[in-house]
Point group: C2
């Protein structure tokens, strides 16, 4: 088994500043000065050092640097699912702000699993990210307390933190849903269904609250059978929609709780023989090209990300410690599906 002595070159045999210093015939500190562009080096010395760097293929090891300096120039982003189109623009916005501040992004998906969220967040803390942007899956974040105390700037987005005091950037989920449902009511609907995400998710609960508020304000009853909360998996949403649309007194309109739900409801309605009105929370690509176009309550995902990241760097720059709450407004976009009158 001579196999034991595998090459194992990892990064162990990379040249270090010491190697560069030896080759250039200068001290370690001089190499450090050149690498970091600090002043106080003769042009001639600088040239010798640069030559040694090129010849050796030296690249500074930031792990060592970080250990000494205390800041990693990186921030962590924990979201639900990198593949969900809602998070694309949000991630990108966070990235752009980070980039403007010279920081890299480390990110991961919680898959809506609180344990996985915690595991990820703590792994990022162990890497000593300077800050965290978190779209929480769980509702108890006390595990973050030591980290916050130690100075890890943390901003929650899309949903608030649970059982700790922290910055949060939200959309007006309640108001948006209420507006959307009121819009359906204004177009004559009285039996309106609500299909949303799992109720333990803050946005789902808020949007449901908005739905109920609009119904109540209009003096309309809400039948239990009109409301369905649960996973956004297509099969679940499909059967929920079919149930809500059947029976003796089917709904004439549906409010869909998020973009995953909306796209499935669109498919269900397309198979139906009667028109059913639809308003969805979240805008999505090509919503205007469907027949009818899909009326939505749009939230600005990029603005959520941007606001959160800016708040984070503001904090890193010494902003006071009191937790702040930002709420972004939503916007109703009429495209046809929300303006259909009740059938029959």
């Amino acid at each position: 088994m001579a196999e034991t002595a595998r090459p194992e070159h990892r990064y162990g045999n990379r040249p270090t500043m010491k190697d560069v210093a030896a080759r250039a015939g200068v001290g370690l500190k001089t190499v450090s000065r050149v690498v970091n562009g600090e002043p106080g080096v003769t042009p001639d010395t600088e040239r010798r050092v640069q030559e040694a760097i090129e010849a050796l293929g030296f690249r500074r090891n930031d792990s060592a640097r970080v250990l000494r300096k205390g800041r990693t120039a990186s921030i962590g982003l924990v979201l639900e699912d990198l593949a969900d189109p809602f998070y694309g623009p949000l991630s990108r916005a966070v990235e752009e702000v980070a980039r403007a501040h010279g920081a890299l992004l480390i990110n991961g998906s919680s898959a809506e699993d609180p344990d996985r969220e915690q595991e990820l967040v703590l792994a990022l803390c162990a890497r000593r990210v300077d800050g965290l942007v978190v779209i929480p899956a769980g509702d108890d974040h006390r595990y973050l307390e030591p980290e916050l105390k130690a100075g890890v700037a943390t901003v929650f987005v899309d949903r608030p933190a649970g059982r700790i005091d922290a910055d949060v950037v939200l959309s007006d989920n309640f108001g948006g849903a209420r507006d959307g449902v009121a819009h359906l009511i204004a177009h004559g609907h009285r039996r309106i269904g609500f299909i949303g995400d799992q109720p333990r998710i803050h946005t789902a609960a808020e949007r449901l609250r908005g739905y109920r508020a609009a119904m109540t304000e209009a003096g309309l009853p809400v039948h239990d059978s009109w409301v369905s909360l649960g996973s956004t998996a297509p099969e679940r949403v499909r059967s929920a929609a079919e149930a809500i649309l059947s029976g003796p007194e089917p709904v004439t309109a549906i409010f869909a709780g998020n973009n995953r739900v909306t796209v499935t409801v669109v498919r269900v309605l397309a198979d139906l023989d009667r028109p059913v009105a639809l308003v969805g929370f979240d805008d999505f690509e090509l919503a205007d090209m469907l027949r009818p176009g899909v009326t939505v309550i749009a939230q600005d995902a990029a603005a959520l990300g941007r606001t959160a990241a800016e708040r984070l760097f503001h904090r890193l720059d010494g902003a006071p410690d009191t937790a702040q709450r930002f709420e972004l407004s939503t916007r109703l976009i009429r495209r046809g599906s929300g303006e259909l009158p009740p059938a029959g």
Copy 2:
């Protein structure tokens, strides 16, 4: 200016293993053993150490660990745009493989700018990521040579590396485009337009080549005015489409070079008074719900990411150094727009 003495708690005042050792009344190495779950610690000693860890809010500093161990348990992912829906499933697939290997993902967008790509890649190398998955924006990657030599496992995805020998995972862009255009020809089209991304991008060039091959194989001429390459910005694509569709002998069908192009062409065609056939490279959400449904050449973005990440970890596990090329096949999905006969 007493302001100079700002709190600055960064992570400087976090407890270290030394603090834990002092509090628990044990040696440093014992704390290390407990933190890393190594054997050889009395249950009683372990308990004392655990208590000290909790009381102090200790969390291991991975920067120090990395410096000593040589591996960071993180990989870098450089892509074009985190917000592009094509990259969502790809990123997610890379992340899942990384997670299965206990690694975190550090990622960034090149914004299709070769300089920004290089800057990002080298920043990741300075962080000593164990490996890189790169969707290249540039076509000269010689800057990576010292890194590859130093053992940074690197896999290119979607587009090959330029001027260096490296692993690459591609879709069959040539074959897919050829199939798509042949499909239009089979439905009677003889004047077919091609609207694609910038020609310096490998996928764009390959798909154009596929288009030309299909036309040639059918004995059809290609007029210069039928082909338009450039940015995928909606305005550019819109005017390209309008130009191709006007004139004395307009095309009766369009092949769209990627999903960004396709969605804009769909909008242009919707405003037209005659039917024009369309096949797009890349599948996209709701393509089946448009009228007509959009026929596409689908590639498996998640499989691209998965294959690349698996190859990367295979390499980190000691797979031989010879560069390998993986090509994934594409799939024609008929939905209506590609089966329309020529108008007139």
